[in-house]
């Protein structure tokens, strides 16, 4: 049954995981995402749906538990915040190399290093460009509300299983901590072991039966030509995802001369900036990438022919702006405004930056 609740973003993602039929969560406390694990432990989903929950000894263990669970075809997730996600990068690379569907949630905080516990968007490069070693991508989706935080859990799992790729929800300390109204979707029962075997038995380690060859999950191949072939297969898959899975939202872009490009919390701030700009008579719109990888390249490229300028707004020193510039390819000016270290820009600051560059 659908249900309306007032929840933190972190809690909403935890509840959404139970409702979408996840089989296991493995995680380690870190601010500002600890509510995910706390909610799950209080909710006791092992009694509700049979979902396994475990507080691991570290983020390194968590991500490797994810690898073990995902290797058996089960629907598993973990969550952490920036420093913990850095610790997980080796495991994420293995998950990508072994083509394992799973979900990693990053509730981003300020960095570098231990940084602080305030919201930030400075993990964009890490999330979208690889993060760990080797040529790989995650499916990266960025919510800008508690509702989207909840909705994207099932959505990300669906994409992960469709392509056998690890997915990441790139949230931040603001969306994770703030409370909003959220409509929770109806619960989907967890797949039975038989259903898991039927769906994933051709690759997952569910136990070798006489009717099939044994299944091996590994990211190792010592023969360079074979590993190159595997890389080609991964790249072909990434191209397919880039062609089919791009999501973005345009707000007042149709008649706009100028466009703000921002995701997550920054996009919410920019929505207000657009309103303020319109009140002053500026034709300003907002384009919000929802999937950060695949990045909405074609839509951005289109702006090169239809708009006069772009201001990219991020809670970082300027990371996504590189992808915007790459796709505009010098056709129109692309400027940047950002705050760092956990500081959230105000709508007025963004408007002032826009005026400085373009008016």
């Amino acid at each position: 049954m659908k249900e309306l609740r007032l929840m933190k973003g972190n809690e909403a993602m935890a509840e959404a995981a139970i409702r979408c039929g996840a089989d296991g969560y493995f995680g380690y406390p870190i601010t500002p995402q600890s509510e995910v694990l706390e909610y799950l432990m209080a909710e006791r989903p092992w009694m509700r749906t049979g979902m396994a929950i475990l507080q691991a000894e570290s983020e390194v263990a968590s991500i490797n538990m994810l690898y073990g669970g995902a290797s058996t075809g089960k629907k598993v997730l973990t969550s952490s915040s920036s420093p913990g996600i850095s610790l997980m990068q080796e495991g994420i690379s293995y998950l990508a190399g072994a083509e394992l569907p799973c979900l990693v949630i990053n509730v981003v905080r300020g960095g570098p290093g231990l940084g602080d516990i305030q919201p930030s968007q400075s993990d964009y490069f890490q999330a979208t460009k690889g993060g760990g070693h080797g040529d790989y991508h995650l499916f990266v989706i960025a919510p800008s509300s508690v509702q989207e935080s909840a909705d994207f859990v099932k959505y990300a799992f669906d994409v992960a299983f469709k392509y056998r790729i690890p997915a990441m929800i790139l949230s931040d300390g603001a969306i994770g901590q703030m409370m909003e109204k959220v409509e929770l979707s109806e619960s989907i029962p967890r797949r039975t072991d038989e259903e898991v075997i039927a769906e994933c038995g051709d690759w997952a380690t569910t136990g070798k039966t006489p009717d099939r060859e044994r299944n091996i999950i590994t990211s190792l191949d010592l023969v360079p030509e074979r590993l190159e072939e595997h890389n080609h297969k991964l790249q072909a898959k990434y191209k397919e995802i880039e062609a089919n899975e791009v999501l973005f939202e345009e707000i007042e872009c149709d008649d706009a001369d100028y466009v703000l490009v921002a995701y997550g919390t920054s996009a919410r701030i920019c929505q207000k900036s657009v309103q303020l700009a319109r009140e002053k008579g500026y034709k300003l719109g907002l384009m919000r990438p929802i999937t950060l990888w695949p990045f909405p390249k074609a839509k951005i490229a289109e702006y090169g022919d239809t708009k006069k300028g772009i201001l990219t707004v991020e809670m970082s020193a300027g990371q996504m702006v590189e992808d915007v510039r790459l796709n505009i390819n010098g056709k129109i000016p692309v400027e940047f405004y950002g705050r760092n270290g956990g500081v959230i820009p105000t709508p007025d600051e963004v408007l002032t930056a826009f005026e400085k560059h373009f008016i």
Partner: protein, 239 residues
């Protein structure tokens, strides 16, 4: 076992240990219900030889993988196969916490006192004064620390049910080791806790000896530091 030719050096204990694990699996009739986890080290390719579904872990993380597999598939037999560098150096945290949680899995731990695959570097279990490529003048305990008896360490954890140290260089030892592995599979499956079988093995290539000489050296040097026999039985430390 699969038909694949073993990649181990002639005289090494890995092949024998692989075989007795697979014999136990076959004799218990649990091939369909067994999932193994291979480590990083000489046995990184263990999954090529064991005819069951297997996963290849990152270095040291096999117990974390096994934890999740067992919790998501509680009716499966789950085991890890790990060397001393993997289990007692880089994977120490995962080893100790899987043991401490009492995960109902089997850990088979091959201790040959050296990093074999990477070319004979010092391991956490390298003996005092023992030479390796990163302790070419012998392990200086004041500088490099002491050999880690991790098996005795984890035996003290309440989550661990059965701990034993075996060898596979002589037929009598092989028979005993196989019995120990079977007991470990049976008791972990009964949800009694984690069962841990250490196999003290030779590394004739890494030790730069003939297979025969390495076995003699192992008996004279490794066994006094790592004495064979049961350490914990039915949840009780052996006095």
């Amino acid at each position: 076992m699969t038909d694949k030719v073993l990649s181990y050096c002639p005289g090494c204990g890995h092949g024998t240990t692989h075989r007795i694990i697979m014999e136990v699996v076959e004799e218990m009739g649990i091939q369909e219900d067994t999932i193994g986890v291979a480590p990083v080290g000489c046995s990184v390719l263990a999954y090529e030889f064991m005819n069951i579904d297997m996963q290849e872990a990152a270095h040291g993380r096999a117990p974390a993988l096994a934890t999740a597999i067992k919790r998501l598939w509680p009716k499966k037999h789950v085991f890890t196969y790990q060397g001393d560098g993997d289990l007692a150096a880089i994977g120490t945290a995962e080893t100790i916490h899987a043991c401490n949680r009492g995960e109902n899995i089997v850990i088979v731990f091959i201790n040959n006192g050296i990093y074999g695959m990477t070319g004979g570097q010092m391991a956490p279990t390298t003996l005092p004064n023992m030479k390796s490529s990163t302790s070419p003048y012998g392990r200086d305990e004041a500088m490099m620390g002491h050999p880690l008896r991790i098996t005795e360490l984890i035996a003290n954890l309440p989550g661990v049910h059965y701990v034993t140290r075996q060898a596979v260089h002589k037929p009598g030892h092989v028979r005993k080791a196989k019995k120990a592995i079977r007991k470990a599979f049976e008791q972990s499956f009964e949800n009694k806790g984690l069962c841990f079988v250490e196999v003290v093995s030779n590394c004739n290539s890494g030790w730069k000896m003939t297979p025969n000489d390495s076995n003699v050296w192992m008996e004279e040097n490794m066994f006094p530091y790592y004495p064979l026999g049961d350490i914990k039985v039915d949840g009780n430390l052996v006095k």
